[in-house]
């Protein structure tokens, strides 16, 4: 999972470079030249590969475990982060952390799905698949932001809402529906970024926003390509075809005017430049907040509704 098959030639070159570096000590200058030459080649290959990723390859990149996650973003771009827990009803949901913090001087409510980075943390965060209590906490935090007139930032990275028995019993559908409704009814700006995977209802529940941006190699879809393939092609083996048919890349969604912009990733994808990616995302959030901050609550709600009503109307 950590290796992408289409990156194989690049990874091979990179390992050769590190081999050469090891022998560098007992050899002459021409090795340094060789390394520079090979590094240029790596860069060229990365550029080539990442400028024409197929939709199926984008799905792989979007799910790459080394992409920066919610916790990385919070750590780098939020000061005084104050995590807030619980839906005041049933439980805390570690798949969808959230809280208060300061973003470049501005108080914000921030929330998003966290997938975890190793087995233990993945289990703790339930692989970023939230249960109803997660979406009910999201509602709670959004209403609080509205009450104190603080903008909201949501970072989306989930395969979808958790399909479990308890989740259904406690009203997963209702929790998502209410979360969408809350997004639409708050009078403060909501900025939403699709970091990796925007998985269906579990994503839109917190991504019904005034401004929605996607990272260059992220995906956003009504159903996973595997799920779509198993229904329409009757076999998950056709996931690559489904990925292409679903038009789930950032570029597709921008073309269909579903999102407001694409945030460029460093060469070779966000997993090759975490800090750079986070800074680019932060710049975009700052820009959007600046644009929306003069808006009155009434204008925000009106424009948000009109924006969504306009989607898909020719």
């Amino acid at each position: 999972m950590s290796q992408l098959d289409f990156e194989k030639p690049i990874l091979e070159l990179e390992s050769k470079i590190s081999e050469l570096r090891n022998v560098e000590g007992d050899s002459k200058v021409n090795i340094a030249e060789e390394i520079t030459r090979m590094q240029n080649k790596v860069e060229r290959l990365l550029n080539q590969t990442y400028s024409k990723l197929s939709p199926a390859q984008k799905v792989q990149v979007a799910r790459h475990q080394n992409r920066p996650h919610y916790v990385d973003y919070v750590e780098r771009m939020i000061d005084d982060y104050t995590p807030l827990a619980g839906d005041r009803n049933f439980a805390e949901d570690y798949a969808l952390p959230g809280g208060l913090g300061r973003f470049r001087g501005q108080s914000v409510v921030i929330m998003g799905q966290e997938r975890g980075h190793d087995t233990e943390s993945r289990l703790h965060h339930n692989f970023g698949m939230a249960r109803p209590e997660g979406y009910r906490k999201a509602q709670r935090l959004m209403k609080m932001a509205d009450h104190f007139q603080i903008p909201i930032v949501t970072l989306v990275d989930t395969a979808g809402a958790y399909p479990g028995m308890g989740a259904e019993e406690r009203g997963q559908a209702e929790a998502i529906a209410k979360s969408i409704e809350t997004c639409l009814n708050v009078g403060v700006p909501i900025i939403s970024i699709i970091l990796g995977e925007g998985g269906s209802g579990g994503a839109i529940a917190i991504a019904t926003a005034d401004r929605v941006y996607m990272l260059e190699h992220s995906i956003y879809s009504v159903i996973s390509p595997e799920g779509c393939a198993s229904i329409l092609w009757r076999s998950a083996d056709h996931a690559n075809e489904a990925a292409a048919a679903l038009k789930l890349t950032a570029q597709d969604l921008y073309q269909h005017k579903i999102i407001d912009g694409i945030i460029k990733e460093p060469i070779g994808g966000a997993h090759r430049g975490k800090k750079e990616t986070i800074d680019l995302v932060a710049n975009q959030i700052e820009k959007a907040l600046k644009e929306l901050s003069p808006w009155t609550p009434e204008k925000i709600k009106k424009e948000r509704a009109e924006k969504y009503l306009a989607i898909g109307r020719a």
Partner: protein, 352 residues
């Protein structure tokens, strides 16, 4: 066909030697009790098994006829939207699937919008057509719900949505996903006018449909046995790797878990929804509400002169719940109120 084919079950037919002359579709088996059902009797029972009460699938037009008072309603066309925005193709082209469904159902997409009265109250109904690509929700359906909500607001009518849908339509990708916020905006337009929004959940209501407008009603009613949930049963079984309870995700299960107000049999739906609408919208009460959302002029006579069985009883009930508190200016009587009272002198004296 003669009297024999009407009364003899298929199993017995071979004995009587009638088999060849009987078309296959005259009898069908109830999926629940497995008793045989004869087509004309099943139709008379509105596709409810007359042995066990199991609710079978019913056509959307038949449903509308059953729901509106006297089976009378006015149907509206679906708004136009761009067709096949993604040029989607799996084993078959989406454009071809659409054409097939359109030919089969004679409808443009999986939603029917109609207006009429239920229990004497004006109501706009948006009903899903499961025969059209499994009632899946794409742009046309979403736009239809927006249109239905606008009609309800315009006519100061209640909005009733009847989902029968597997969820979002995959063939329109993320555009289908966007129907979740879009339909939420729609039903909120109705709520903002203090008009009732009632959801009648029918089989099935799952996925993106259940996780948007279908769970946002003022009141949720469901047909017996309806499957209601977010994730599909099989997906959940694969995730949790255990057997789920038999009644998992049924309407009755959802009542137990607090997500649905009541299960209502098909034959009672007109009366039940009519009663609820009358309780919510009847302006003949002495407690005067804000003028804005009420019907102007014609509202006074809740039943439009058509006496409803439960009328008297229901007005008693509403009087008891007068202290609801959402009313702000309770002082002035509106014109319609006075008209109403002239028509019902008895109530006038009662209200002093």
């Amino acid at each position: 066909m003669n009297w024999l084919t009407n009364f003899i079950r298929p199993g017995l037919r071979s004995l009587v030697g009638e088999q060849k002359e009987v078309p296959d579709n005259l009898w069908q088996k109830c999926p629940s009790c497995e008793n045989m059902l004869f087509h004309s009797e099943l139709k008379a029972a509105h596709s409810v098994c007359y042995h066990c009460g199991h609710h079978l699938k019913i056509g959307v037009m038949e449903r509308l006829a059953l729901l509106f008072d006297d089976g009378k309603y006015e149907k509206f066309p679906l708004p136009n939207v761009p067709a096949d925005p993604l040029k989607f193709k799996d084993k078959k082209k989406y454009a071809d699937r659409m054409r097939d469904s359109q030919n089969k159902t004679k409808e443009k997409d999986a939603l029917v919008i109609a207006k009429g009265t239920i229990g004497g109250q004006d109501a706009v109904v948006a009903a899903f057509n499961f025969d059209f690509m499994g009632g899946s929700m794409g742009t046309a359906v979403g736009e239809g719900i927006v249109r239905a909500a606008e009609k309800a607001v315009k006519h100061k009518a209640a909005l009733i949505i009847i989902p029968a849908s597997g969820g979002a339509r995959m063939q329109e990708g993320a555009l289908s996903l966007m129907q979740m916020p879009r339909t939420t905006i729609a039903v909120n337009m109705v709520k903002a006018e203090n008009l009732p929004y009632i959801v009648l959940l029918t089989n099935p209501t799952t996925g993106g449909v259940s996780a948007s407008f279908a769970m946002l009603g003022d009141i949720h009613l469901a047909e017996p046995g309806t499957t209601i949930g977010f994730a599909g049963r099989r997906v959940i079984e694969e995730t949790v790797r255990e057997k789920l309870p038999e009644d998992f995700q049924t309407a009755e299960y959802l009542v137990d878990h607090g997500m649905v107000d009541a299960v209502v049999a098909r034959k009672d739906q007109n009366a039940e929804i009519g009663k609820i609408l009358t309780l919510l919208m009847d302006t003949s009460q002495e407690y005067v509400r804000e003028e804005k959302p009420r019907k102007n002029g014609k509202n006074g006579n809740g039943g439009k002169g058509k006496k409803q069985k439960g009328d008297k009883k229901s007005s008693n009930v509403t009087r008891l719940s007068i202290k609801k508190g959402k009313q702000k200016k309770a002082k002035t009587r509106t014109q319609p109120e006075q008209e109403q009272q002239e028509q019902q002198p008895k109530r006038k004296s009662a209200s002093g």
